[in-house]
Symmetry: D2
Subunit: 373 residues, 4 copies
Amino acid sequence: MSNTFGQLFRITTWGESHGVAIGVVIDGCPAGLELSEDDIQRELDRRRPGQSKIASPRKERDRAEILSGVFEGVTLGTPISIIVRNEDARPVHYEELKDVYRPGHADYTWEAKYGARDWRGGGRASARETVGRVAAGAIARKILERVGVEIVGFVKQVENSLISANIVKTLENAIALRKEVESSIVRCPDKKVSDQIIKLIERARKDGDSVGGIVEVVAVGVPAGLGEPVFDKLSADLMKALGSIPAVKGVEIGSGFACAAMRGSEHNDTFQKFSPPYEGGVRGGLVTETNNAGGILGGISNGMPIVARIAIKPPSSISREQRSVDKSGNPRTIRVGGRHDPCVVPRAVPIAEAMMALTLADHWLRARVSKVD
Amino acid sequence: MSNTFGQLFRITTWGESHGVAIGVVIDGCPAGLELSEDDIQRELDRRRPGQSKIASPRKERDRAEILSGVFEGVTLGTPISIIVRNEDARPVHYEELKDVYRPGHADYTWEAKYGARDWRGGGRASARETVGRVAAGAIARKILERVGVEIVGFVKQVENSLISANIVKTLENAIALRKEVESSIVRCPDKKVSDQIIKLIERARKDGDSVGGIVEVVAVGVPAGLGEPVFDKLSADLMKALGSIPAVKGVEIGSGFACAAMRGSEHNDTFQKFSPPYEGGVRGGLVTETNNAGGILGGISNGMPIVARIAIKPPSSISREQRSVDKSGNPRTIRVGGRHDPCVVPRAVPIAEAMMALTLADHWLRARVSKVD
Amino acid sequence: MSNTFGQLFRITTWGESHGVAIGVVIDGCPAGLELSEDDIQRELDRRRPGQSKIASPRKERDRAEILSGVFEGVTLGTPISIIVRNEDARPVHYEELKDVYRPGHADYTWEAKYGARDWRGGGRASARETVGRVAAGAIARKILERVGVEIVGFVKQVENSLISANIVKTLENAIALRKEVESSIVRCPDKKVSDQIIKLIERARKDGDSVGGIVEVVAVGVPAGLGEPVFDKLSADLMKALGSIPAVKGVEIGSGFACAAMRGSEHNDTFQKFSPPYEGGVRGGLVTETNNAGGILGGISNGMPIVARIAIKPPSSISREQRSVDKSGNPRTIRVGGRHDPCVVPRAVPIAEAMMALTLADHWLRARVSKVD
Amino acid sequence: MSNTFGQLFRITTWGESHGVAIGVVIDGCPAGLELSEDDIQRELDRRRPGQSKIASPRKERDRAEILSGVFEGVTLGTPISIIVRNEDARPVHYEELKDVYRPGHADYTWEAKYGARDWRGGGRASARETVGRVAAGAIARKILERVGVEIVGFVKQVENSLISANIVKTLENAIALRKEVESSIVRCPDKKVSDQIIKLIERARKDGDSVGGIVEVVAVGVPAGLGEPVFDKLSADLMKALGSIPAVKGVEIGSGFACAAMRGSEHNDTFQKFSPPYEGGVRGGLVTETNNAGGILGGISNGMPIVARIAIKPPSSISREQRSVDKSGNPRTIRVGGRHDPCVVPRAVPIAEAMMALTLADHWLRARVSKVD
């Protein structure tokens, strides 16, 4: 169950980073949806490393092949199996560290749980596992786009450089922003902040170090009424979905942690019948003047943009020397070689969008059974 | 599914705040555990309002009755059904607002989802729903205590007053801290901060307003190896568990959002064979010098204290005048009457502990099937 | 999970036969359904023992109380909790056998699984557990009746006395048959067979023995398109649903075991555009001349009546002397005292109907998410 | 969810009969199990058609490739993805019937559910779907063999020719029987009945017709204590597992439908401390003199051989002329061409064994969490 996400739009991912292949099976995609391999490839290409000077030079072509569930260009209602062969696998880089517990990595915990581990590049603990999420997310996104939902994510912060404003407000604005995001090699739509971030990442790389950051992901056009009121709140499911992305240490919705210092009179979003700045992204007739709720009240969407943020830790694989211990508990001094990103925040953007899309598609289906006709 | 939490230690809660009763069914509690109604009552008493001068004066005796699953003082392995009758129900307070959407509440979203709602005190959207969680959490806690796990939560911040240090480190320290927490009427173990918080809450009440805050909850003595590596990461499941508590807008583990501004060399926790400050709370032989990971690496526990924090918004029910709209979209000016807490952060402590306990008990059972013998 | 049935219309039952109470929580009932305690009581009254001279003289009033999920006579979309207090509990009957494994009962297997058991009347292994199923089934039935589905069950065979014809064919015929069924104290709508069965049961009682039989349950008016094609075939889910009723040793659909001796040319049901004998019970435009399929092709309903049969073993509690062993493996000669039915086949009818209703209601909801709009 | 089976040992199958490939993902296989592609190939080879003169001459090499979850010959605890490429795909055979509803097939019901269907060889409704089940079943079997469980299935009946005795009683006997089964081209271990069956099948083929039959599958060496007492009874889960195999119309356990005509004194299996004919296949210390229970009491295994039988309808694809209707409801006369088995009963044997193995492996894991230590 560990490898399955979703109740009705349900995905199961599989694969180790240096095994034969990785993939995903999507069960519960409704019949009748147009779908091609290009739809999936587009998102996989965004996730892939090696796309710019600031990222890892690994080459992963990541060609998605659809093996089932689609016939004559349309989904059948049967499971959609997608496979991506692993290509640029060089386990030799990892062999020397196979008896050492790398700090910040899952080496030690994995052995505690399973008794052994695939030490080749982290095995299934590698972020390469997210290929399956992104492939499935591309399908979820197609379902949502049919009903007018747009999802856009971007880098909000890296180290101490950040965008402070709320910049996604309407459907039109979300679509436009997506282009700006993709035109920045660090996926930051604010040109000035983008330039700062590029410099911060380059400095970290020179230092043999790495940096963390924050991704914001917003869904605009979500109908009111999605989410379940108790455990499967839309907010709680998003927290799990986004919190399950490798390296995430925190998740917040709307006002997030800032709410702790606020008063109710300030935090409550006032309802209105109509509110120009938001109209493009609103469903259901009412809007709120502010959006501290982040589009979710009592666990259910209210039609306003759904706003989530995730904190991503600095990558644990750094080239500078670190102390650790080996399997016998002996102290060891290590350097984690290989080709690692000094900052994974930009690459987390399409993954966060995918997890948002998967969560919303699932709740969109679940909302179909909440009332008698 | 909305009302069920957990895979193997699985609870289903039910009940509206002003209905006949509320309750919970626990399915999957192993046979052979000693259990009495007192075990449950103890935790329910901590959750109950009306316990101090700063809290709501509502009287909810909340007597738990075990209806099944226990025979001769020991669990049978069958579902444990627990019921709490609702007593102090005065729906008249709510009748005048039944056609208005209260800002910050789930009135509007509930109607968008279900077509109608129980307007009596929020119905199932009321935080009274958490009675079932706390009752079930008391059982989860008993399972965990058998294997040496202690859970302690406390108020870390209200408005701008906060405890900044990491104060839970060892098993002994956690047990001791629990007493200090309970001796503060706002569940803040730092006497000075506790006094400040009491003042802040009283001021908010006088202003007809409310305040938010942060709860930290820590589990000490958790064995290494709990959690699943992909979607059901222990961290992700905790985020969902804690994020499903009413009014929570953010969840973080270990370093949390602070990781965004950190570098890898600083964030990576160095492994050691032995580390005195942590020994009481550590399982599995290795410790780390720091605990930015919050006890979880790659989604699996590493034996260090598990540290989580939740941000709780200021209560939406405030007595000062607010603008809103009614069901027809007409503007209305409202005052939310009744007896409401100006700050729910202290009452969230036992609920957060319960959700932590439920998540850990579930993963403790799940860890039993991860390896062949 | 053992105590939960269904994916979207999901019930969790709880309670031991001689505990405080038994009950059920229904999660996933759509909002907006009219529901009263009478709807549930009507079905519980059919399940209750002590209704005729041939049944156990135990008195179980079995008053159902709805504790949540219904507001102003309509379902809220929240969990519906139903409780029935246990009344006529006389554990003294069981005390003398608490160290002996009664033949045919779950005493031994329960201890093998859980290490201990509630020996009072079988505890949760008692057929009294089905109270929760029947209560939940009454709600499932209301959902189905809104869309024109009628379910009728009856006793087809007891010992060697049986009805051989296929007697349920149309909606009108099903509704009419239900009355005939209820007018027979053994729920057999064929007067002659009913009289034979009454005699067989009385003879078995006189002999201190018991008899088995077969129940047939038919759903008429089921739309084509319900069921999932692989594991969750409507047929497979019905087999599990009906097969989980205590004492059931076999389940068959349509032609059932008779298909083994048939040829394809004989077994294939020919499609037609219209076929008078079936029109009342058919949905979807096509009918088949025969109904060997029992209304299900490839796991999905075809609009024809769904026909299932279950074989029910003779009750294991018989008053004549039997050999067995006690917990230490010593031979013992026992008589199972108390008030036991020599034949439970008639009482299985409302239970089988409930399980059919629960399965169909679940798949009716699931069918809502199989296609894009 | 339709395509997933199991709670803890959980498989998800995918693939259409004439698509690119078919496969299965196994999630929940414990780490540390030795596993090779040969283990899987062995069972797939038994399922494959074209193995004898009486079966379909289709050529399906069905080479299984393990893509993940196994490292250095041992399972990792991660999902095991297995793929089998489709080779002998000739959709042209099916094109002429793509607008007609073949009697006995899922053409019509599939369209009712999904709005369209993959008409190439039944698509996912084809029995080729069972490749994934058999591959996964081979792994389940390895888990069970480690703890001494042997599963053997055989053809008990075809048309009116049958084996009437109970022939599997001990572990040794089960292992021996398996060889006899495999030495018969119709998987019937009774030489005389085997010869009769071969003749019956050849006669049916000559007649352009098909025949049904019964498969019995027995598990010997199953420990007492597997199964859950209410909905997830081992018997009920087996009924669903076996009942989900294509073409199955009935399932029975132990005495099965014969119980209907029995009396309690005859049906109750007497407990004994020791009983020679069964000792090899018994776990847990007690045995019963007879085995009407089929190894399951109250839904939980009692240590005796688990005995199940399934009724398999005659294949719907017959070469003789049949009447049907097309999508517009017009009458059509059809002949189902292609290469079809006149009897699928022998090929159902490894599939039934696989479903038995999957169910037992799942419950074997589930039994690990039933008690506190």
